[in-house]
């Protein structure tokens, strides 16, 4: 069984007319960086809530299908147990941070797990270093910039050493450079620590470059799932595509063959330079 495995999962919120997600089959393993996209209201957040057990334990409604995370049956596992395996980060870090220093914020979750002091200290030091937060350790989270706050939120979650990290629009309130920094830090967690990352993000021009897999949802169903380059053109109807991809498509429609589609300007330039000589002939 894979780290996350959903089989035919459907859910309808109590009082809702329609299913928020229907017959979703999805599985993913360690080290993947899954970018989950789709129009607002397509079921992305509902899907994320299944992964940490908020559905069916907190939200009432009609659940069917099977869902496993880290080998645990979500339906039968309490959310506090699932929380050790699945870390969640949201759009607004202010809602997640409430203590008087960065260090205490990170230690809080570990204390709640009842870990020995030495182990708490080791993990706090490790994530402070990993996230470049050592110098901010004594600062109050509310004094920090949005980008720094979001890093603290991710650090607090990662200190619990979950196998899965779920991020729901974590960069919506950040400036582009801070957003890139946060997303690339997350990519490092996937690459170096083998964390399974599941990211919901609207700004493809920032997020695509990191993704190893692109999944698109529409009206509660998964409508595309695969290597980003392979499914990108298929999902552009739903979520648009970055300017370099639009240019790539224009050139292609004029018969100028090019490798791609490109996920970044750098990739686009590489393929243009390679294609250029051939076109001139």
């Amino acid at each position: 069984m894979r780290l996350v495995e959903l089989r035919g999962v459907s859910f309808r919120y109590a009082g809702g007319d329609d299913y928020a997600i229907r017959e979703v089959d999805f599985s993913a393993g360690s080290g993947e960086y899954v970018l989950l996209v789709g129009p607002s209201g397509c079921g992305k957040s509902t899907l994320l809530r299944v992964l940490n057990g908020l559905i069916p334990h907190f939200y009432e409604g009609e659940f069917s299908g099977e869902a496993y995370v880290a080998g645990l049956d979500v339906r039968e596992t309490p959310t506090h147990v699932l929380a050790r395996h699945v870390g969640m980060v949201f759009q607004d870090p202010e809602n997640q941070l409430f203590l008087s220093s960065v260090e205490r914020e990170i230690a809080f979750g570990l204390e709640n797990l009842g870990l020995p002091r030495a182990e708490i200290r080791r993990r706090v030091e490790e994530v402070l270093r990993l996230f470049g937060l050592e110098e901010l350790r004594h600062r109050a989270p509310y004094e920090l910039s949005g980008g720094q706050q979001q890093k603290v939120a991710i650090a607090s979650v990662m200190a619990l050493e979950p196998e899965v990290l779920v991020l729901d629009e974590p960069t919506a309130n950040l400036d582009p450079l801070s957003a890139l920094e946060v997303l690339s830090l997350v990519a490092e967690l996937a690459r170096e620590k083998g964390v399974l990352v599941i990211l919901v993000e609207h700004r493809l021009e920032l997020a695509l470059r990191f993704a190893t897999r692109l999944v698109a949802m529409e009206k509660g169903r998964i409508v595309a799932d695969g290597e980003p380059r392979e499914v990108l053109e298929q999902v552009s109807r739903l979520v648009g595509c970055p300017p370099v991809v639009i240019t790539y498509k224009l050139l292609k429609s004029r018969g100028l063959a090019l490798e791609g589609p490109p996920l970044t300007p750098e990739e686009f330039v590489d393929s243009l330079v390679r294609g250029w000589e051939a076109w001139r002939r």
Binding site: E169, D175, S178, V244, V273
Partner: protein, 278 residues
Amino acid sequence: MEAIVVEDVYFSYDGVPALRGVSLTVRSGEVLAIMGENGAGKTTLIKHFNGLLKPEKGRVLVFGIDTREASVAQLARRVGVVFQNPDHQLFAESVEEEVLFAMKNMGLPLDVARERCEQVLKLMGLEKHRHRSPYSLSVGERKRLAIAAVLGYGPDIVVLDEPTAGQDFLNKCKIGGVIAALKAEGRGIVIVTHDVEFAAQVADRVALMAGGRIVRVGPAHEVLTDEEAIREVRLLSPQVPCTACMLRERGITLTNTPLLPGELYLELVRLLRRQAMR
């Protein structure tokens, strides 16, 4: 026409300077994008546009009226501001009432107000939610509701703080369309945004801010293709000019620096044709 004129404005919060000598003009019939990293002074500046803040030094004229001599209520008729966090402006019990509230305050007859309300809800894709509580909406929907409420009473200048934050692709297109429609009606639109790609699509002029000053202002095409200026204010270059710049380093030099995908495409095709003729 010059709608808002900001003249050498200084402002500080408890002695901490936020604006240090800002001069800027907002014109009717154009889209002005104010850009820069968090803390650059963008929000402080737009709070001067409707008199929420008054300059410590310098002055702000709104259609010729000095903001120090007018009330916020007076100025709000001419300048509608939608702030970044919609929750600070929403308070009514239903989506519909939220939109009607400002119009009633401005003294619009109820039948006119209802008709307008209908229009703007449709425009913002909220007509299905008219009877819901604003608090039951998603963040993106609340943002669009705050925009709808301001559009309803039809101010001459519409100021939008981060209109695309948290909006999905289709709603971003919708907001872009609304901005274009307002401009076509001759209104002035100011957007404060980090979203360089959105600014590239909708803005006529761009002002870059850093440390409480305007460091660059000019036509969008000129400012957004100026890699150095963009880097200085800690933004990310839009993808198209970024591509053009990297191509130049690799020996492919385009005649004009493009800003949008269509322009880059045309430049590439033109260059190929010229080289083929040689």
